[in-house]
Assembly symmetry: C2
Homo-oligomer: 622 residues x 2
Amino acid sequence: MKKWIPIATGLLAGFMTAAISFADFSNHSNTVAANSDTKSNAEKVYVPFGQKDEYYLFASGGHSGQMFIYGVPSMREIRTIPVFSPDPATGYGFDSESKKMLGGYTWGDLHHPALSETNGDYNGKFMFATDVGNSRAAVVDLKTFTTKDIIKIPNTSGPHCAAFVTQNTEYMFLPTRFATPLGQKYEPLDQYSKKYRGVMSAVTFDEKKEKLHIAYQVALPPWSYDLSDAGKKSSGDWAVMTTYNTEEATSTLEINASQADRDYIVLFNWKQLAQMVKDGKYENVGGQKMIFPEKEKGAIYLIPVAKSPHGVDVTPDGKRFIAAGKLAPTMTVFSFAKAFKAIENKDFAGERNGIPVLQYKSVMEREVNPENALGPLHTQFDDKGMAYTTMFISSEIVKWNPNTGETLDRVPVQYSPGHSVAAEGDTVAPDGKYLVALNKLSKDSYLSVGPSHPESMQLIDLSGKKMKVIQSVPANPEPHYAQMIKADKIKTINVYPKDPNNPDAVYKQKDTRIVRKGNEVHVYGIAMRSRFIFDHSAKRPDSVEVNQGDKVFFHLTNIDFDEDITHGFAINNYNLNMEVQPGQTNTIEFTADKAGTYPIYCTNFCSALHQEMTGYLLVKPK
Amino acid sequence: MKKWIPIATGLLAGFMTAAISFADFSNHSNTVAANSDTKSNAEKVYVPFGQKDEYYLFASGGHSGQMFIYGVPSMREIRTIPVFSPDPATGYGFDSESKKMLGGYTWGDLHHPALSETNGDYNGKFMFATDVGNSRAAVVDLKTFTTKDIIKIPNTSGPHCAAFVTQNTEYMFLPTRFATPLGQKYEPLDQYSKKYRGVMSAVTFDEKKEKLHIAYQVALPPWSYDLSDAGKKSSGDWAVMTTYNTEEATSTLEINASQADRDYIVLFNWKQLAQMVKDGKYENVGGQKMIFPEKEKGAIYLIPVAKSPHGVDVTPDGKRFIAAGKLAPTMTVFSFAKAFKAIENKDFAGERNGIPVLQYKSVMEREVNPENALGPLHTQFDDKGMAYTTMFISSEIVKWNPNTGETLDRVPVQYSPGHSVAAEGDTVAPDGKYLVALNKLSKDSYLSVGPSHPESMQLIDLSGKKMKVIQSVPANPEPHYAQMIKADKIKTINVYPKDPNNPDAVYKQKDTRIVRKGNEVHVYGIAMRSRFIFDHSAKRPDSVEVNQGDKVFFHLTNIDFDEDITHGFAINNYNLNMEVQPGQTNTIEFTADKAGTYPIYCTNFCSALHQEMTGYLLVKPK
């Protein structure tokens, strides 16, 4: 572990101390819990058949590009929602619509999911996410748990510091982790401070059309923007984000971006930014409206913070925000009211890159320093407004009172928590009850699966006097952040309703048909338990013959309007598979470039005669 | 549910009765269990932190193309092993080696995993699997839980009836689910009985080279081959597989392949097949040695069985095999000794497609008919030799004695189990203890995730007097079969050892370098906490400049020889990501066709300064 902080030898000594007190602490915690709690950990997390979990957990899937859905408290993974990467299991990226949406990308890096909000509370309608790998943003409809729109964000490189939504989902902001020249043009790194920029995009969402749209962008200094949060209530027009590498180092950031004692919190007023756009105070860059803060002042400010901070989190009452240097032993509580006053009074400590810097002391309310805690990354809140901060280096969760700075409780987690998520823990009304630590390392926690270990999530019970880890589960790569929403807020549909306006849909056997237009073959077919019907009038209704080189479209409607009766559609040796959920119509298109005889089959077990749900694609040689 | 068996009205009435007695049975079962068992279900499945699961469960991932690894009894998913589909999370299909192995396929349909065996017992070394979607076979090394070889199987279409290995892993057999003309050539379906064939491939495995090889193939009749099992002990030279569509129907199999009262079990002697190959009794078909059983007799026989059977399973003592029509109410126990005697006596009921048919009555030992049980699919065994059969239609597991036919116990599962898997339940020495039902439908079992529901696995405790379902977990699509192996049989490595013979590996900073050969750029770099070093002598060791159009190779070695310290390597907006596990060297290659400035970053959280582990790829415009 020594290798982790090669530049911070002072901290290393601190860590060694922490490790010792940590072991003591662990014993203490277990004893107290055993005495005070009659229900076993096992019983607390067990959800017997016939009952359901109380919360949905939406975990980012990191470099898988997908989103993972768990139930809490059982911590069972219910589903993977494919978002930024293809998903062979569901045909996502294979059927025409999702293939077009993915636009040829085969990989994504999904960070920091964000649920849609009304008055600062989750409304259960949509989930937003961003792709650090290929600079995209997406929206998932929670009626169907499917991705509805993906947009590519020009001028930017890796919107890691996202997604976060304002309290009525007016905007989702996407600041970037990497600085590049605008439009990612080629520029030598010697030109870094002059020519490179971090860019924040303001994205709006049309709920009716289910479409994302870039409203404007802001050309921030060439720093890394790490995490962010929107204000709430009295701070609702504002948002905050953390920065690192304000040193503007261009190599070996491990050392060179950890030189300055302080980096910055960026504080901005999004209503004023919108007004600037309205007033034409922007330049057109690559088709986007770009605000340059060094030219257009009055909406963006900097607040010094302990170096290289990770998370910044607004308290449920909207009055404070909390951030900390990630190598530091200290959390810092800042006051929005103080910041607003400092802005009003122009209480500035000069400018940095043309942006006013507020005085640290004028905005800071309190520094909180739990003994031997190290590496504070991210903070969540409970129903009493108490804060829970993950300590990456000392591998623990610290509970503390943001009003007084008092440390209330600590619990070790295994190992190296990045974020944590409490039940509705970043809304105006957290639930308390549960916190999940999202741990980066699992080491020896589970049966070994070779050199590559899973990540780990640990469920912590917040209902007793002391926090208690009650369950540990391995996680696929890699939960960076998650949000936990009360289950009854989400209203799914069980079956897709008939769509009389869909020209590709066929609901009656007699309407199935094969239509040829030049070298295009359109099959309007149905899937039902347990057969395909592509043309009811054919000798073999479940076979299709085309000519080599034809462009073939299978439009397939699942006419089993019954819960959980999904059909698949695969063509053997043609590398094709898609899913048609109950009531849904889906299209798969391909060029029949290989002559021969290719079985068609249902890939989604649908009945006792599922194995018989087959047909043939015959491709006549040229 | 009525729609499921449209052709079997008699069975439907049976099902209605089954549903009634089923409810009674369920209540009865719960009462007994509650009286006889002091440990709660929750306690039975809970594995506290610091302890580990007792078994690994290897579940096929069906149309995801992957394999899912769970711990038992906790039923926590530990890992996904990418096999037949790309996996953005680990870079499988992105790095040069795995990309070549996948050969351009972006989808697979993984069925029926098979662990390597010694003397009919799992030896914990390798896992085999087949791809129904694109007709491939693969092997996974259980030291690293990574796929080591994939081969394409020519002449065949969908090796569903696989993989199963002989008792010392001499062969893995791959019979196909779909009949096509040999080589999948174009032939009208009117020629089906004449020109189409089902093909079984015999595949060998070179453990040292970790390579699969097709030894020979057998041109079986144009039927569907569904499931299979190798003999054990006295039946060790033999194997059995089920068939359906012996009607040779070419359309709407749901009806047309359910006409004949009986289909067949194929019984074959693989030592005799090997001898035939040795004796040159084969034809060369598309580069493969193909045995035609109607010409070369003496190794393959047919045994009539109730129509459309799914599973066929050999008892642990190797004396019997069990199969059943999947729409039937009856399991049939066959005797190997009787079959061998019938073969010796040429006790045939004629031939079918040139293959001798044994008399059903001469081979059948017993028909077992638990009251109102419907849809027997697949059977597993416990340490006492007792059988557990999944009933797809009546949604239950039936425990019965294959020696007497006595029904011993029944337990409902939710819903529609396909296979089940017992602890080492298909070896010569099952463990008893646990059975997992792999259920096709979950319906209302978990929090809803929209019209597409997860599958479901249920853990059944076999240790008490009565079977008891003690846990239900959702599963990603789609566990067809699984194998459960005692955890201590698998010996993983934690870190890849240094490989002095790998020309791409670099273990010392001073050996990092960038080598240009014409328009090829080879980067020999290292990844370590928390920086990239591509060329230690450069001004910026973590940046690489190339010319637009260059072919770029990043050879990257992870020199953190520490458990669980995996690094990722992504290039922003270049749609590239790979993983380098501790000690591993991996290569990613691409053409730098886009000019510009592209951040490089580590995707696998590796230390407190992971966010700083970045660099740049600069692509100079032409």
